[in-house]
Symmetry: D3
Subunit: 252 residues, 6 copies
């Protein structure tokens, strides 16, 4: 056994693992439309697979919980199949994961998030739960740890959902959920008010995704590739593993 | 495509599927100790795999949601690795699944449950949500649909958790999570008050699982087999598929 | 004083009683239609009177709280007069009873339930509160403790609500709420989908009571009698008193 | 039948009653210490019996729900046997009563309250529920409707709990819960800060009842009598019946 | 610095102040219509300014928190601009103020309330929070501490909202929010059912303010004056300061 | 009247204003330590004053609500005087503001936020409330609209709390809360784990402010000035006013 994935371990194995592992990694996904070319479990698959790679890399310092298969996705509800949790439900779910594992002795948590819509509720969850349970919590939207690759390799004006970045990640992490013959560019509504402020650096506007794109994706998926996915994921793995090294050894 | 598994489908595929599918199957599992011989994701794996088989059998009348990977398992919290949701969290999660899919036109739900501790909260969820959202909801602890096989093939006085029945199901549905070389009988505390009333037909007593068993399992796992698993699962599939046939055609 | 009924005692009397009584009995009823022949307080009256008999039989080991006069009865809401608590309200009410009495030193609770619709929320309440308040909780739908009599004396295909069993109980416990001149059989909708699955041993379907019966009752009330009521209640009293004996002496 | 008490009626009888009755009376009590001389169900018994008399007087314009057997009594928790609801629980319970009866066509509610500690939460409940359910709600601490008698007949400096007023009411409404041989004056802590501000007309101070009295009652119970009880109750009945006349005929 | 107003102090200044100050004053206002002649912040301004005067008078025994700028005002929602908190929100807000300051060592709280609609929820908040956080809480609708002046100086049959009393207070405390050229009498609906019971001493009826007045005020504002305001406020200051003296020195 | 500030207006004035104003500006502050040199109401004062300037600039298109005087500040709780709302309370408060004003016809909301700790809960509030109430919501941490000035004028490695930026804003907006004679640099804990990740662009770590600074501030307040404040505020006003122009005219 080279990685500690809790749902795949028995309780005596977990008991043993907790002698070295001090951090619980919680993969946080979503069930949400990703255009014509990625299946809706995209974020859950990416969170789960990325966490597994991270667990291998950081063995034996971390354990991985079951994946949170649902996220906060109200902006995608106009597309069939999307399931969105209320923020309260999402936070309660994370609370129960944290409080349960605290009882088993874990005091450090890293939420590995694959979906932008989860970021604000994750922020609320982290701030609240760390203090309520007297534990340390960190969270990352993991592709944010791949800044160099993204700035060098991607030049679409708008990207970040079912785009070349995400297709590449999927081709590397979970190729079965990509419809390779259907990959296409985002069919954008260029004049949309929401699109204008989507990337604003000072104001955030609530919008529905179908205000800005007709097919549900943005960017240019045709530029995605396994190779780009590998670069993105490996850079993120390196940076987050480095953080984990630091996080596991600090004693606040 | 022979079965409709929502996280593995794109939104246009789901849109198409909803033309024939009228029932959403929701696999409901748990992260919970199952002795020395089954990994803790046992109930989630069984719920997921059983639901997939059911979806094939009932194609194209049902769709399957992502698996609920966590259940209500406070009675197992004394064993490392168990994660237990508060009933409120569990019900809220099911509510968001139901309310989201209702928005996409689904009005019938079948919760496929693999964990006894989920039954009471599922009952509350079903009664509440069916009326709140004006939908039809049914739920089953799926092995209950295998009464004939169980009464004929199993003779342990106490069984129902990490026992010959559950090991057999796993060998058939998810063999990778069984530790075949570690299978053993339940190490029961024969005099426990909790054990005496565990199977009472008139009174229910709240207890912790380690009151009744030291290794976390009950029954006699050494009697489990792939063949027994096949019989259990196939009988349950037949009975539940028959119910689905009825459920999908009724119009209340 | 031969029984300890808390609303009928002063605080110094209660203080004295708690020197021997270690179990709080909580009678749990409902306000809910029971056909043309039983008044709607049926379940509350039965829970209250049964608990009083039990308190006499188990004197001085138990005290009885005021009756919970409302239950979870959404399936009866189509009949005038039914009042249904949301499960959250019902559980909160039980929580406050438990937490208050815990402050007075009581650590064992037995919920005496008279209404099937309360069972799932009672299960959730028991599991949650026992752990939250570090107390022992058991619960029983008390007629379940009368299995022998029921299997020997009742032969209606469907029974369990405003039927010969319940009329008999009322004639024994609270005859004033029976309209003897109006007793009749259930006017069943024989083809109802809900009726088909009402007694399923593997799937539970949410339904409204008026889907299965037009007059609100099932079974054959005309077969009810004081004598049958006496048998049912006495068997249940014996079995539950025996449990109380065990429950009061165990020290987990 | 001269009064409409819902738990004592069948659904067809209730259906008939609702042709003339437009107001639901909800008796609101408490389980709470009342000194050495009144049993703890005092407020519940008074609320129930007063409501029944009112229902007779106002027949056929009102129906009476089952009694709310628990109130908000944290200030009495230091005395054995008291059970106190959290205000949230109390309000939720009233909400479910109101929302259920609204479904049966009732649009006017009068809460008949017997316990001062319920007044603030009843105020919150009334204001909230009237608007949430678009119904009319009024509430009364019913002895407040007996101002003339009280000002003429009672001269204790402090009264209002297990005092001559309350004993008199009990002797008239529910004599069985009075311990006549144990009636005594309040054993007051004359210097208590809480006592000084208990009757302030401008500031309300949170206190525990045992700060101000050692035996749990105040006033001078020895001055209570059946005759005084009759005067108090009859004046209150007259005034509240007059209000009901007005309330039932107004159409806002 | 002659008064301790927390939002106007730095943390080292507050640290110093807490050496002598043992009571936190919390000004509680509302955003709510007050007729043609007072701006809607009326209650917030009055609560804030009164608290500041009180803090000067009771220096250095009290600190003043930021003002609660919103209250519970559903009965005024038919007039533009009114903002009403749900009671749960209002109580939660007070809870967070209390629990935060408890962490800084404060154990006594006095809510200075300027709005009648806040009284019931304040009562619930005080009773609940005092016990939950083991602190002492008192609350006052501060004009209630001016009984002598009010009974001597005001003779309108109905007063208490945007009337001569409130205009006078504003002229003394916050003259900028009075529209002196628009002061007028309440334009009452004399026959309203709500008006009849508005001042009942035994029954409380839920009503909307526009049922009883067309312009939003009652009483006779033209009789208001700075001088009357001074009398009202000074009497209230004297009485409440006296209570504070007592409250700060008591040690329960 | 050149700006519409709701607490300073009567209901007929507000009724008139709502003929032209379509956006409600909600100033969102905090009560929170800001070192030795700024009073704790800093964020509330800045939010309020900035909103007033914005209201003048955008007259007559916007109205301003009363200020939210408390924010989400758990990370500052180790410094005396800080009051922190739970995120649920904070969101509930915003919900009641939005739902109340929606009833008066307002359908567009702009939250003007002055405190970084409010950002995640504001994000949750905006996403949730916009959909629940079918309104448009945008929110800004207003200094983010001053990017040019900040990048040109500020060169401290760490800034953002009680630093030169914030002191400058205060000197411009609310000079009375600055202790000019006490301005000092942040007394940083250079080796703190929390400090290392405070500005991470990929991982967020929950920390307490006193982990990173001993005096409660960061940056170099001595570089602050009225002139810098003017530049910051004017740039932000220009950018946000431009957004308001767009927001008020769009019709989604």
């Amino acid at each position: 056994m080279k990685k500690y994935i809790l749902p795949d371990m028995t309780w005596p194995e977990i008991k043993e693992a907790l002698k070295t592992a001090s951090i619980a990694i919680v993969p946080v996904g979503a069930q949400e439309q990703h255009g014509y070319h990625i299946a809706e479990g995209c974020d859950s698959y990416r969170a789960k697979e990325f966490s597994a790679l991270l667990a291998e890399k950081c063995f034996p310092k971390v354990v991985v919980t079951p994946t949170i298969n649902f996220g906060v996705s109200p902006h995608h509800m106009d597309f069939p199949g999307t399931i969105s949790l209320r923020p309260d439900t999402f936070i309660a779910l994370l609370e129960d994961v944290v409080s349960s594992l605290k009882q088993h002795g874990l005091k450090k948590f890293l939420f590995i998030n694959a979906h932008g819509g989860n970021s604000a509720p994750l922020g609320v969850a982290a701030e609240t739960l760390a203090r309520r349970y007297n534990v340390e919590i960190a969270h990352t939207k993991f592709v944010d740890a791949s800044k160099k690759t993204l700035s060098k390799e991607i030049d679409s004006k708008y990207f970040g959902h079912a785009c070349e970045r995400e297709i590449s990640e999927c081709l590397y992490l979970a190729p079965g959920i990509v419809r390779k013959d259907l990959i296409e560019k985002g069919d954008m509504n260029d004049d949309a008010f929401a699109l204008k402020y989507m990337k604003s650096d000072f104001v955030k506007v609530v919008y529905q995704f179908n205000e800005i794109t007709n097919n549900g994706n943005i960017g240019d998926g045709t530029k995605g590739s396994y190779e780009l996915g590998e670069k993105i994921i490996q850079e993120a793995l390196t940076n987050i593993a480095e953080f984990i090294e630091d996080f596991s050894s600090t004693n606040r």
